[in-house]
């Protein structure tokens, strides 16, 4: 009968997909697991013998026999022997017995064995369930050894492997088969069977028997699955020839020369045309700020140029020997730290720029300066590799003492902040002169004592962190704007998974469905983008008004949790005012800033060992570690740290000062 073949070709990846995700059991999506549902829910396809009564042409069976050529003969034979119940001439009682035995067997075997085999063995053993089962299992193992049946996905139980195998053979087979052969009503059921217990357990009844539709669906589905399961392979295919992408955030105290350093680097690398540079030079001269000419490469708005400070994250890209580097130039001014957090949240590594001028370093580093806060922030945001550019060293005539003095102070601090010594590189340089940026130093004073690499090589030596490509899609939105053409664009970073043109995504926390119309990476349109990429996605299907900064684009099936209350383990920095219950804070989470308050202080922990010091502390002072419960004024999307690292980090700020950094440990349902 028609359905037998389909048993084999079922796309099992559907069944097992759920298991890929942590903390997401099958039961959550349907009230019954596929196994249970097959037991308890009426499934029309299951009892199709009844339907067989209505079909005149049992001859249809013959058509099934010729399979795709790859099928080996024994299995084909097996199929040809499929038995129509009616042809067995059983008494009603026997038929009932047979049915119950079949049910039992299916409970054990699932759909792994064709029905004809089951019926035959049941009849053979005179409706004795146990014997029949033994018989079938034995014969099956024999069969497996002697024949080269294309590896049936059903044998595979480990969820991890299932999707891979499914894509290797099954999907194509289905598509090819359906087209030429199966006409008529049977097919409707057949496809129903195909999809039924898979991704939408217990819904085959809803499936219309309309052939056209189900065909389309199944092909579409298969394609989608193929995409997803092979994300990794696709990634390697797409990116194998390409250089690795690296995102680097430039941080440091205001006026340390971050923008100038980066501007100069870009100019020296030839990313900026002589013409534009000349223009900047002339214009900056006009307003008497010639030293800002390089900074203007990144500071583009009039406001920023007039005031001479970076206000929002500027971005630019260049290539090194082995990498494609995107720099995010963060503002250094204390008022714009929210913007800096947005930038740092998207970065893989950081470049800390230090002003080596006497007095400037001290004011930027000692209390009140942004050097400390920035370094703590990037560390808390998950950046572990750091390059320190000791800038403006020319002002102290490239003195080694000064360099050593600065590095010594920084080393102590950075170690305390949680950076490993081996992950931090110190580079003396001068942004305005371009010394030791792209080429090895030429300054004799510097050459005397410095033997290390130039800045570009240091950047080149950063290692790119692992990208969680095979996880479900999560993309945080940090900008919403009108693009050209229809729809609107959101920009952001893909934290997890991949996104491709034509995908359906859910905009959370509003949970609206949207279509991906286009994807572009670094202003180049592309078909797919993977975790770690900064992309601009054109969306349609939702209103631009309903999407705002801080939202998450999520996989439609495995959605990101939405909540107003969560538990976090926080590390309190230097605070002027201690943290108590009910303390109003701002939480910075990716690009999202939201007001919140601490509702409970659950426990205070030992800073190094993590042991419980005090339950329900009254107050949290400087440098303490604690578990607290935070309530946000609006629902936000958040993930536990252990599930998605990037989305499990929050920053707590009060009155323009970062007071704590936290990891999400639990999400309360609201």
């Amino acid at each position: 009968m028609a359905r037998h073949r389909n048993v084999r070709n079922r796309s099992y990846s559907d069944d097992y997909d759920y298991d890929d995700v942590y903390g997401h059991s099958v039961e959550e999506d349907s009230c019954l697991s596929p196994n249970d549902s097959s037991q308890w829910l009426f499934d029309r396809t299951r009892n199709s013998q009844a339907i067989a009564h209505f079909l005149d042409s049992h001859d249809d069976i013959q058509e099934e026999v010729e399979e795709d050529t790859s099928m080996s003969s024994p299995s084909a034979l097996q199929r040809g022997e499929s038995i129509d119940l009616r042809s067995l001439d059983l008494s009603e009682e026997d038929e009932a017995k047979l049915m119950s035995c079949l049910d039992e067997l299916r409970n054990v075997l699932g759909d792994t064995v064709s029905e004809s085999v089951l019926i035959k063995s049941v009849l053979h053993h005179k409706f004795d369930f146990n014997k029949a089962l033994d018989d079938i299992l034995n014969s099956k193992s024999k069969e497996n050894t002697k024949t080269e049946v294309p590896k049936l996905p059903l044998v595979v139980i480990e969820p991890a492997k299932a999707p891979v195998i499914a894509t290797v053979n099954t999907p194509k087979v289905i598509v090819q088969n359906l087209e030429p052969k199966t006409l008529g009503i049977i097919k409707g059921f057949k496809v129903g069977k195909d999809e039924g217990p898979s991704s939408r357990p217990g819904t085959p009844r809803e499936q219309s028997p309309c052939t056209e539709r189900s065909k389309e669906q199944s092909t579409e589905k298969v394609k989608a699955k193929e995409n997803k399961a092979s994300a990794l392979s696709q990634y390697t295919k797409e990116r194998a020839l390409d250089k690795e992408h690296l995102y680097i955030v430039v941080i440091g105290h205001v006026d340390a020369g971050k923008s100038t350093l980066m501007g100069r680097l870009l100019c020296d690398l030839g990313e900026v045309s002589q013409k534009t540079l000349h223009k900047y030079e002339q214009e900056s001269k006009k307003i008497g700020k010639q030293s800002f000419m390089y900074a203007w490469v990144l500071d583009e708005t009039g406001e920023e140029r007039v005031r001479g400070i970076t206000m929002d994250v500027g971005r630019a890209q260049f290539e090194t020997k082995t990498k494609k580097v995107v720099i995010l130039d963060a503002p250094g001014h204390a008022d714009f730290i929210p913007n800096m957090i947005t930038g740092a949240g998207q970065a893989d590594v950081a470049l800390l720029v230090i002003d080596a001028t006497r007095g400037e370093f001290e004011s930027g580093f000692d209390f009140g300066g942004q050097t400390r806060e920035h370094a703590l922030l990037v560390r808390s945001l998950g950046v572990s590799q750091l390059a320190v550019a000791v800038n403006k060293l020319d002002t102290s005539n490239w003195s080694q003492e000064r360099f050593d003095e600065i590095t010594k102070k920084l080393k102590a601090f950075l170690k305390q902040a949680g950076f490993k010594d081996s992950d931090v590189t110190y580079v003396p340089c001068s942004g305005l002169n371009g010394e030791n940026l792209v080429k090895p130093p030429s300054e004799p004073e510097l050459l005397k004592w410095y033997k290390g690499l130039c800045l570009l090589d240091v950047i080149d030596k950063f290692s790119v962190p692992d990208r969680p490509i095979s996880k479900p899609l999560r993309m945080s939105i940090n900008d919403v704007f009108k693009g050209t053409g229809s729809g609107f664009c959101v920009a952001g970073r893909i934290e997890n998974g991949m996104i491709s043109k034509g995908d359906k995504v859910i905009v959370c926390p509003t949970k609206e469905a949207a279509d991906v119309r286009g994807v572009s990476i670094n202003d180049m349109s592309s078909n797919v983008a993977f975790a770690g990429d900064q992309v601009i996605v054109t969306l349609s299907g939702v209103d631009m008004q309903n999407v705002s900064v801080g939202y998450i684009l999520s996989d439609p099936v495995q959605q990101v949790p939405v909540t107003t209350r969560f538990e976090a383990r926080i590390v309190v920095f230097n605070v002027k005012v201690p943290i108590t219950k009910g303390y109003p804070i701002l939480i910075h989470y990716q690009s999202l800033v939201e007001s919140a308050h601490i509702v409970k202080l659950k426990a205070q922990l030992n800073k190094t060992t993590g042991e419980l010091v005090k339950k329900k502390p009254r107050v949290l002072g400087n440098n303490s570690v604690a578990v607290v419960e935070i309530e946000v004024s609006k629902p936000i999307c958040i993930e536990k740290y252990k599930d998605v690292k990037e989305l499990g980090r929050v920053m707590l700020r009060v009155a323009g000062v970062t007071i704590a950094a936290g990891l999400v440990t639990d999400i309360m349902s609201t």
């Binding site: 008022d335 714009f336 009910g582 007001s595 002072g621």
Partner: protein, 408 residues
């Protein structure tokens, strides 16, 4: 608020019979002894008074006020007509409903004084109206209620300030009155970031945002009443916004804005969320303008509590259990308590808090009742609603917190 008539004595009976068209209630009369009268008649004359009334009236009290009621009359022939009658009713209050946005107080309850239109026991909802007298009868006038009356009748305290806290894309337009902070409007607009090539979308978004802020100021701020308008933001948003408003006012010839230019005050705030008002109210420039408003003093007090908590944790406590224990030891120097606790339904609980307040006062301590409508009051409310700064450290309290009381 004007006190028209009062006939009460602290904690029970006693009477002041006093008639005057304006305030200045004379408390020296309090001790005059009469019996059985515990009535106060008040005339609210600004919306803020509704807030006081809300804090004054509790369930079980009786209120007499003039109101409008639809009355159905049946004529001798059996045809019925209904018309609206203005009548004076006395009800026993069952539910109290305060609309913070419109500043309207609704009291629902049964009629306890029958008149020709309304039967005894019929339900009625009184809408307290401005400039109309209402009388409040309480079975028990405690110190907190009396203080509230006094405070409500104090004209010096009223000074309104409008404040706009903003950051790029988010603004809260607030009105600060002595005992309330009302968020009149929240503006939340997504502003596209600057990006290579087109910065004009960013500028356009900003202008749209500033325009929304300006419209909201024009709509919600009454320049005749308001002493000053504070624009607060991180970075340059406030300057740009002010610049935009003045430019637009010149262009559109908006006299109102141009004339009141001097009332604007630009202050630094760390964000555009409501609770950054706290920082704004601590700013010296603002303090000079609004000097002694309740809002500013509350913020200062709460701040001092936190500083104490940081420096000498054994001298600052919160939570009812701790504060009670500290009070027993006569240790409380300043008690901060949220007025929400006095509004609670449970009469016994309210009584507990009143006794706490009284005993702290008796012992020479200072009691500050925070308005739960201010940002500082909101924070105190989150912090169990009651906190105290002590005269001397009590480290034994700190150690004794086993099963915390603040599980509310």
């Amino acid at each position: 608020m004007k006190l028209v008539h009062r006939s009460i004595e602290r904690d029970g009976c006693g009477l002041v019979d006093f008639y005057k068209s304006s305030l200045f209630c004379i408390f020296s009369y309090i001790n005059t002894m009469y019996s059985n009268c515990r009535v106060i008649a008040l005339i609210p004359d600004e919306s803020e008074d509704m807030w006081h009334a809300y804090n004054l009236i509790s369930e079980g009290d009786s209120v007499t006020a003039s109101t409008v009621r639809k009355v159905q009359t049946e004529s001798a022939t059996g045809s019925s007509t209904s018309n609206r009658v203005r009548t004076t009713l006395t009800i026993k209050v069952e539910t109290i409903d305060f609309d913070t946005q419109a500043c309207v107080l609704r009291l629902k309850g049964r009629n306890i004084a029958e008149n020709q239109y309304v039967k005894l026991g019929a339900y009625h909802t009184l809408d307290l109206e401005l400039n109309r007298k209402f009388s409040l009868y309480k079975p028990l006038w405690d110190s907190v209620s009396l203080e509230r009356v006094e405070q409500a009748c104090d004209p010096a305290a009223s000074a309104d300030v409008a404040a706009v806290v903003m950051q790029e894309g988010l603004a809260n337009v607030c009105l600060i009155t002595p005992s309330m902070t009302l968020v009149r409007m929240k503006i939340d607009i997504t502003i596209p970031r600057k990006r290579k090539g087109f910065t004009q979308q960013h500028d356009k978004g900003l202008n749209k945002f500033y325009d929304a802020v300006m419209q909201s100021i024009l709509r919600h701020v009454d320049f005749n009443v308001v002493k000053c308008v504070i624009l607060a933001s991180p970075g340059f948003v406030k300057d740009q916004c002010y610049e935009y408003m003045i430019q637009t006012a010149i262009k559109t010839d908006n006299k109102l804005l141009l004339d009141n230019r001097s009332k604007f005050l630009l202050v630094k705030a760390s964000s555009g969320f409501k609770h950054s008002l706290k920082e704004v109210l601590q700013e010296p420039a603002v303090l000079a303008k609004i000097s002694d408003t309740k809002a500013a003093s509350e913020v200062k007090l709460l701040e001092s509590f936190y500083t104490m908590l940081q420096l000498e944790p054994a001298k600052a406590f919160y939570g009812k259990k701790h504060v009670d224990r500290a009070n027993e030891a006569l240790a409380i120097d300043t008690l901060m308590i949220s007025d929400k606790l006095f509004r609670c339904q449970d009469i016994l609980k309210r009584k507990e808090y009143v006794t706490l307040v009284d005993s702290v006062r008796e012992n020479g301590g200072d009691v500050k009742i925070f308005s739960s409508m201010h940002v500082s009051g909101e924070q105190l409310e989150q912090l169990t609603g009651v906190a105290a700064v002590l005269r001397f450290p009590m480290p034994e309290l700190e150690d004794s917190d086993d099963a915390d009381s603040d599980e509310e």
